[in-house]
Amino acid sequence: MTTTPLAERTTAVAARATELSKVYGQGETQVVALDRVSVDFRQAEFTAIMGPSGSGKSTLMHCVAGLDSFSSGSVRIGETELGSLKDKQLTKLRRDKIGFIFQAFNLLPTLTALENITLPMDIAGRKPDKQWLDTVIAMVGLADRLSHRPSQLSGGQQQRVAVARALASRPDIIFGDEPTGNLDSRSGAEVLGFLRNSVRELGQTVVMVTHDPVAAAYADRVVFLADGRVVDEVHAPTADAVLDRMKRFDSKGRTS
């Protein structure tokens, strides 16, 4: 919300998972999705979470974003410990502190682009900050499409609406679940560009799950997961470096 000095920004933690475990089932059929994962997501940083299918990357994101419950450990968003929150408080937390971008865009077809963008604030019963809204809309280049319905927009445009929706309420942290998964490479690049700009220029914190090395290359940092554990971390990644790292998983053979 307020512009934090850069030095402080890099140290302050927007979200932190400590010894986070998530176990499905019991006994023989027990599946460990997350195995004592500890990871920090710093403010104004663009983090990508990568890993092979079944590595637990989506589960990690869902748990940190307050969408899913976890078995043990702790998750903090800012100063708030999620483990102790009830559904109602979690909902409020997601509403006020977190933004989401989904793979399938997930816009409401009955609402116009603008209404979709302001939806989180409508839910909260807040008036959007007009100036900020204009900034966000201008950034994603939707100014002339605001009264269109999602069905009248292309996939790339729909995802830009979703990005704007996530940014509009100025959340502490934005989570993206394969945000470019359903887009062609050009639209995908656009969306990723917006996300990176929001971090660089607006000081937004973004965490994104992806399996695309090119997408991950837009991030400041890539966290690699395998078998429910953090196995590696790459700072200032390039697509090639990420691809190389991913290839090492492949040579080990996919786990699921």
């Binding site: 869902h62 974003a65 969408l67 899913d68 559904d87 109602k88 909902t91 409020k92 997601r94 509403r95 006020d96 977190i98 933004g99 989401f100 989904f102 793979q103 399938a104 997930n106 409401l108 077809p109 009955t110 609402l111 939806l119 989180p120 409508d122 839910i123 909260a124 019963g125 069905s151 929706r165 679940d177 359903n182």
Partner: protein, 842 residues
């Protein structure tokens, strides 16, 4: 294909549940009606057949027609005739039957059985084979009576008790000397039967020395028909007609069947309405199932299934659903039938005992109705399924619901609605019965038009609700938009509710208006404080008027006496009144002449005057019961109404010609006006007679109101079924919406709409759809109620439209409650949706 269909049914169990329930309720209504009516009519048939056991041949008076200026007088069955019959070859014995109305009071002085089935009769001789005595001895003389065992048990009477009974006026207090059992059908049906010795019965029922019927028993070895032939030879043809016991039983069976068929038809009409409402749900469900399965069906087409096969697979699915619904519906119907009979058993309206009757016809009808209705309703969705192109299997996205233009539909709907409205409006300008057929036709057209137009109407009407919904913030906004998202589905759901509410409102408006007008009619022309009549509207003995005239505070009385006469070659009923008091007891508008009744001067209502072409001063010749003639003069013509009409003649003019005068009512004026004390006084004067009602104007109004309330409540009960089915429809639609929008709901939850907000959204959508149906229904109902009233207004001068605002508000509230209730389960489901699976794209 069958396996595919079966798998599909099993896979969509939950979603088909509401459909099955809707069809099931309809089928249960149908089969319940059939089981119930068959059971009752079977029980009546059996008991009536038993009642004719003692009758081999019944001898009844030959019917005499009214001819020329003579009233036909039925010949009398006398003792000599009975003896002749008993002596006929092949006859074993003969019984003379005397019957009449006999009211019995219970220990609190109240009439047993409401008066309509209160029978009296004669106990024949020493030992009457019709009525085996359980305890006591046969009644003899005027102070002894025998009671049937059911009535005795009901009232707690035993042999030796003094009881209060009434035949046509004065109270009698005979002693019970016997309690007997009987197969009499009337008693089996909950009526009461009191028996006197033959002479007393003949005197009480004004049949001195004669019988209503002579029942002849055949000697062993003589057949009924042989005995009938013998009797025909012995008895004079112009006096006696004979019928065998078998024929009587058959006739009665036909009559019972006929009287039950009215009830059956009535109930089936309501079952039909419920089923009709159900078709909307079935069509909705199958439309959705097909839409959801677009890809799957396209795949079938791609691998070589023909269009016909696709349609057939949908129809097969419908068949399975219909069959399940029919089986469960039939079982439920049998339960309803059994329950209803048990219920009637506990009420006073006892029906004869008998087994539950489930005919093959009932089973076949249930299956046919359940399966055919379901398949019929699934036919259109099935055809739509066949039109899915094979290429749809390849596209990754769900084929969007066909947003086929509504232009054609709206045009068609507008045409129907306009034509319907025009015909109904035209019909209101016609008079009475002429307008009925066009009005019905117009109403059907209009309803069809509105059905077709509901998708169009949904947008503006629901948009009108926007300000109210805005209070609920984002949930309200989303609810409104969701409810117009699939106008066809919303329309079908709302229409289902509309039908029930249209009928309910229409009936209520009509009943309310009718009640008001009849009430006005009954009381406005009346100046009398009290009207005295028999509980079952039987005739009263003239003694009643005499007793009333002597009571304290009574200033004037007049009977309303019915006397048949021949006038100008037709039978007319003269109304005998007290000429000197009638003017003060009524307040009739005199059109011409003067209201003057006495000697040979009479007053005539406008209708009768018109029929005969009379005016004030006209004269006509009347031929009385005793065939004597008299010339009467029309002193005045008054405006008649449903309660008071006809030719009013002074009782003194009639008296010389009447052997057994009977009063229908007695009008009473008192000096203090109506009060509880006065009423008590009048009732005391009549000896607290259980069978006679003393009513002031308010009581008459209440009676009329009660009649209408009872009728309306019955209609409400029957139409409730249609509303319940409509509720299932709303549940169904909401469940579908929640299912289809699970991804959106998951997203909303993720970005911060809490469970309450989701629930509220679903509930409000439900409320909007239900109220939409409610507003349409109440609106149409008022229109139809008004239109039907316009037809009646021609016949009833006092008719005026009464709009029951309070009831209409209740109906809308009911629609709202329906909405809230229907949303309970879908809203919970929506709130509990797993966010993660919901937001994951497929």
């Amino acid at each position: 294909m069958f396996r595919t269909a079966l798998r599909n049914v099993l896979a969509h169990k939950a979603r088909l549940l509401m459909t099955v329930l809707a069809v099931m309720l309809g089928v249960a209504f149908v089969s319940g009606t059939l089981v119930f009516t068959n059971t009752i009519s079977d029980a009546y048939q059996k008991s009536s057949a038993k009642g004719f056991d003692q009758v081999d041949v019944a001898v009844q008076p030959e019917y005499a027609e009214d001819k020329g200026d003579k009233l036909g007088k039925d010949p009398e069955l006398t003792r000599p005739l009975l003896d002749k019959a008993a002596a006929a070859p092949g006859a074993d014995s003969a019984i003379g039957v005397v019957t009449g109305f006999t009211a019995i009071a219970d220990k609190d002085g109240k009439l047993i059985g409401g008066g309509f089935q209160s029978q009296g009769g004669n106990y024949w001789g020493e030992k009457d084979p019709r009525y085996p005595i359980r305890t006591g001895k046969a009644p003899s003389g005027k102070d002894e009576v025998a009671l049937d065992v059911k009535t005795a048990e009901r009232a707690g009477y035993e042999v030796g008790d003094k009881i209060r009974i009434s035949v046509d006026g004065p109270v009698l207090t005979p002693t019970v000397t016997a309690i007997f059992t009987t197969d009499d059908g009337n008693v089996a049906a909950g009526g009461s039967l009191a028996l006197f010795d033959t002479a007393t019965a003949q005197r009480l029922f004004h049949k001195s020395g004669t019988y209503d019927e002579i029942d002849v028993k055949a000697a062993p070895g003589t057949s009924q028909s042989a005995l009938q032939a013998n009797l025909d030879k012995v008895l004079p043809k112009d006096v006696a007609s004979t019928t065998t016991g078998q024929e009587l039983a058959d006739d009665q069976a036909v009559q019972i069947e006929a009287s039950m068929s009215g009830l059956k038809t009535g109930l089936l009409v309501f079952a039909g309405i419920a089923l009709f409402v159900g078709t909307f749900i079935i069509a909705n469900t199958f439309t959705m199932l097909v839409a959801q399965r677009t890809k799957e069906l396209a795949l079938l087409r791609a691998v070589g299934a023909s269009r016909k096969q696709v349609t057939r697979s949908v129809l097969l699915e419908a068949f399975l659903v219909g069959a399940v619904a029919a089986v469960t519906g039939l079982l439920a119907g049998i339960g309803i039938g059994a329950g209803l009979r048990a219920l009637m058993g506990t009420l006073d309206a006892a029906v004869p005992d008998g087994p539950l009757v489930i005919t093959p016809g009932t089973v076949v009808t249930s299956f046919a109705v359940g399966i055919l209705i379901t398949m019929l309703a699934a036919w259109l969705p099935g055809r739509r399924a066949a039109k899915i192109p094979p290429v749809a299997a390849m596209s990754s996205v769900h084929a969007a619901a066909t947003t086929k233009s509504l232009v054609l539909r709206n045009t068609l709907g507008a045409l129907f609605a306009a034509a319907g409205t025009a015909v109904v409006l035209y019909a209101t300008t016609m008079n009475g019965s002429d307008g009925q057929a066009p009005m019905g036709f117009g109403a059907v057209l209009l309803i069809i038009g509105v059905f077709i137009l509901t998708p169009l109407l949904s947008r503006p009407l629901i948009a009108g609700a926007a300000p109210a919904l805005r209070i609920f913030g984002v949930s309200g906004k989303l609810a409104r938009q969701n409810s117009v998202r699939n106008p066809r589905r919303t329309a079908a759901t709302a229409s289902a509710l509309m039908i029930g509410l249209t009928l309910i409102t229409g009936m209520t408006v009509m009943a309310g208006s009718l009640q008001k007008s009849i009430d006005k009619m009954a009381t406005s022309a009346l100046e009398a404080d009290y009207v005295v009549s028999m509980a079952n509207f039987n005739s009263l003995s003239p003694d009643v008027e005499k007793k009333l005239a002597e009571a304290d505070g009574v200033t004037a009385t007049s009977p309303m006496r019915n006397a048949p006469a021949r006038i100008e070659g037709e039978t007319e009923y003269l109304t005998g009144v007290n000429g000197s008091t009638i003017g003060g007891l009524t307040d009739l508008k005199v059109d011409s002449g003067s209201f003057e009744v006495g000697d040979a001067r009479v007053v005539v209502d406008d209708g009768t005057a018109k029929d005969h072409g009379w005016k004030a001063g006209s004269t006509f010749t009347v031929s009385y019961e005793d065939d004597r003639k008299e010339k009467l003069t029309v002193a005045g013509v008054y405006e008649g109404n449903e309660m008071i009409s006809g030719i009013m003649v002074d009782t003194a003019t009639l008296a010389p010609h009447e052997t057994d005068p009977r009063d229908m009512q007695v009008l009473v004026k008192t000096d203090g006006g109506p009060s509880d004390a006065t009423k008590d006084g009048l009732e005391k004067a009549l000896g607290q007679n259980p069978a006679v009602k003393v009513q002031d104007k308010q009581d008459v109004s209440n009676d009329i109101a009660q009649m209408f309330t009872l009728m309306l409540n019955m209609l409400y009960g029957l139409l409730a079924m249609a509303v319940i089915v409509a509720v299932l429809g709303v549940i169904n639609t909401l469940a579908m919406s929640v299912f289809e929008r699970s991804q959106e709901i998951g997203m909303l939850r993720a970005i911060g709409l809490d469970r309450k907000g989701i629930k509220r959204m679903v509930r409000l959508e439900s409320l909007v759809i239900s109220l939409f149906g409610g507003v349409l229904g109440v609106g149409l109902g008022v229109f139809f109620g008004w239109a039907a009233g316009e037809l009646l207004a021609g016949k009833m001068p006092t008719y005026e439209l009464v709009l029951p605002w309070d009831r209409m508000a209740v109906f809308l509230l009911l629609a709202a409650v329906v909405g809230v209730l229907a949303a309970l389960w879908p809203a919970r489901r929506a709130a509990r949706l797993n966010m993660l699976s919901a937001i994951k794209s497929e």
